[in-house]
Symmetry: C2
Subunit: 393 residues, 2 copies
């Protein structure tokens, strides 16, 4: 099966390596990279390189287009073009999938092509395939996890060393874990994309990334916060989670506090952790490399092998109308701020410990609304959800 | 697709429930249970019940035989008969699979039938399918996990409550988690079966359960041991693990000590945890329900759906000759015994703390050999491997 790769950064190189090394049992001679689409100034470097996308689109031998350029455009247009030419598309691009999953799916169907995106969520973790397989049998009513390795790395190093957020972010950037503009990783946008895709599949609906989806990242966390949580017996993780009840669902990205002995507290470095709950399979979760050249490339090649083996993925219309409702469950929160937020908390049980408010049984929408108010007044604020109810000491 | 179920215990009933409820997306009207094979005295209870296996074997409409009787015979004979009649077989029976995987595979191939056993390892966890998928691309050189929920439940309750082994075992038996004869769960035989099957697939070899595979269970553990480990900052788990290097592999079932903050320490109750390491995917692990009516039935139905969808599982000959070698790696161990074992430990660094010996950098084969010697002398003994190297305090 002949393949064109769009983009030759880290992940694209990984795909080339895996296909060319042919170590595994099924990566046989039947897979061949015919083109690698690059910028015009690069074309001379490698006989496979081309900057002429029409050449790829019009080559009937090319059965699979692997999109690993990232970004919204021209990725979206090029994916649509490939599908319109009846070519299967495999992508690692979570941002473009989260926004266009319905359209990609429709164009693929109209042209008898397949659109697969295992590597877009959870990197090397076979999350999408297993979510889809569970859905062959189960209703899935809950998705949660550590969907972003960079933020997990930052929080883990801060916890282990006591270093400041700025210093650890700088280190993560030097290691190549974090981008020069770290916003996608530390403000929750990357997790939002991945949770949108997961929720779309799990609930057979379409949730667009956007401001109505609650996100609170780790930009404001301090080493004092980490130490305070540690003193209380907690480790903090940046979590995405969604829960469905009937035709309503919650969706939130927020720092969450775990006790050692909870599984999330054992997810270190830049590992990802993603889980679901189904009506017969129960709780099922996955831990693995959420990014990186070879793990992400591994997931892309899995999609290619499924195409080669004619293994169909779950078909979804993404057409179930559901209502976003972040007041479905009451949780306990800790909010650190130098503002006096007592008036906001009228009617809720809370205690104050220095600048740390411990608030009981408040819904996520209300909690984020209060914190957004404080933030709007340019006062320092950080929030974290408590994973389990604990009796306050 | 018409199905015959052999046995109507807990798991068999679960399969009936899932197929008859048809909640999920792909469990469609195309699946139908035509027969349930039961003892002659039960036949009158349900129109699907039959005690006549020839009726099933000779009914060309039956495409899948689901074996959930358990035990070695008549399960083995009946599986072979079904495959010989060209029927696909799906089974949850780890004991019969571990011993006969090569023969079942051969008979299936000769008769153009499929033999699937997802539910035999890890219960509801989609372990086999993901191990096989990873192997399409990767070399896998390491398998490890908490493969037995009953022993994990016993250790977890002992850790949380301080209760004695005998009391918690009794409770597990009352809850139906443990059998009247608990040996398979507490002495490591169940884990041995599951690790054999995993290793067979991972390394494309055939490892028979037997005495040369090192197993040390939790029968001898005391509440004092649990407290001692807790005081040292450890939680104990019963682990199966195997590691391959070139044409040699290790294979051991043994109690292992984890610090809170290691992921294994976060696996509670009767959950299972299984993991692999591959050359491009890296470390990948799964956590979920390792037993129980619906999770196990879910895994069986996944196999049936793969048959219905013509999704092929990985083909293995199980013919790689590998040598068992449990001296491949040096580990640190804790051994509790009232015997004086100093002479056995000549040449190794160790310290003694009451009845607890802390031994550094000893290979697994040697350590188990010493403990077997003590056991043979009818002196109390318990051993636990330390998961990570720590500097002794």
């Amino acid at each position: 099966m002949k393949i064109a790769i769009l983009g030759h950064g880290t992940v694209g190189s990984g795909v080339s390596k895996i296909i060319q090394n042919r170590q595994g049992d099924l990566v046989s001679n039947s897979l061949e990279i015919k083109y690698i689409y690059v910028r015009p100034n690069k074309v001379a470097e490698n006989p496979l390189f081309t900057a002429d996308y029409d050449q790829i689109l019009n080559d009937d031998e090319v059965e699979v287009v692997v999109e690993v350029m990232g970004g919204l455009e021209p990725a979206k247009t090029m994916i649509i073009q490939a599908l319109s030419h009846g070519k299967n598309v495999v992508t690692a691009n979570k941002a473009v999938v989260a926004r266009n999953i319905v359209e990609f799916n429709q164009v693929a169907n109209q042209n008898n092509a397949r659109f697969y995106f295992e590597s877009a969520v959870g990197g090397g973790i076979p999350w999408i395939i297993n979510l889809e397989r569970a859905l062959r049998i189960d209703q899935i009513d809950s998705i949660h996890g550590i969907f972003n390795g960079t933020s997990n790395y930052i929080l883990d190093v801060m916890t282990k060393t006591g270093a400041s957020f700025a210093d650890v972010l700088k280190e993560a950037q030097d290691l190549g874990y974090a981008e020069a503009d770290p916003s996608a990783d530390i403000d929750g946008y990357d997790i939002e994309n991945k949770l949108c895709i997961s929720v779309d599949i799990a609930y057979n609906t379409f949730v667009q990334p956007g401001d109505e989806l609650l996100k609170f990242g780790i930009r404001n966390i301090t080493d004092q916060d980490i130490q305070y949580f540690k003193d209380q017996g907690w480790v903090v993780k940046l979590i995405g989670r969604s829960f469905r009840k009937d035709n309503r669902f919650s969706f939130v990205v927020e720092p969450t506090l775990y006790s050692p002995g909870e599984i999330e507290a054992g997810i270190h470095n830049n590992y990802n952790y993603v889980g679901l709950r189904g009506n017969t399979i129960g709780k099922l979760s996955f831990n693995g490399q959420g990014a990186g050249e070879l793990p992400t490339a591994h997931a892309l090649v899995q999609d290619i092998l499924d195409l080669a083996a004619h293994t169909s993925h779950l078909y979804r219309e993404f057409d179930q109308p559901l209502t976003l409702d972040n007041s479905l469950k009451l949780k306990n929160y800790v909010v650190r701020t130098s503002a006096d937020i007592s008036t906001y908390l009228a009617g809720y049980e809370f205690t104050k410990d220095g600048n740390y408010y411990h608030i009981d049984q408040i819904d996520t929408a209300k909690m984020h609304h209060i914190v957004a108010e404080i933030d709007r007044r340019n006062i320092d604020v950080f929030l974290a959800c408590i994973s389990r109810h604990r009796t306050r000491v």
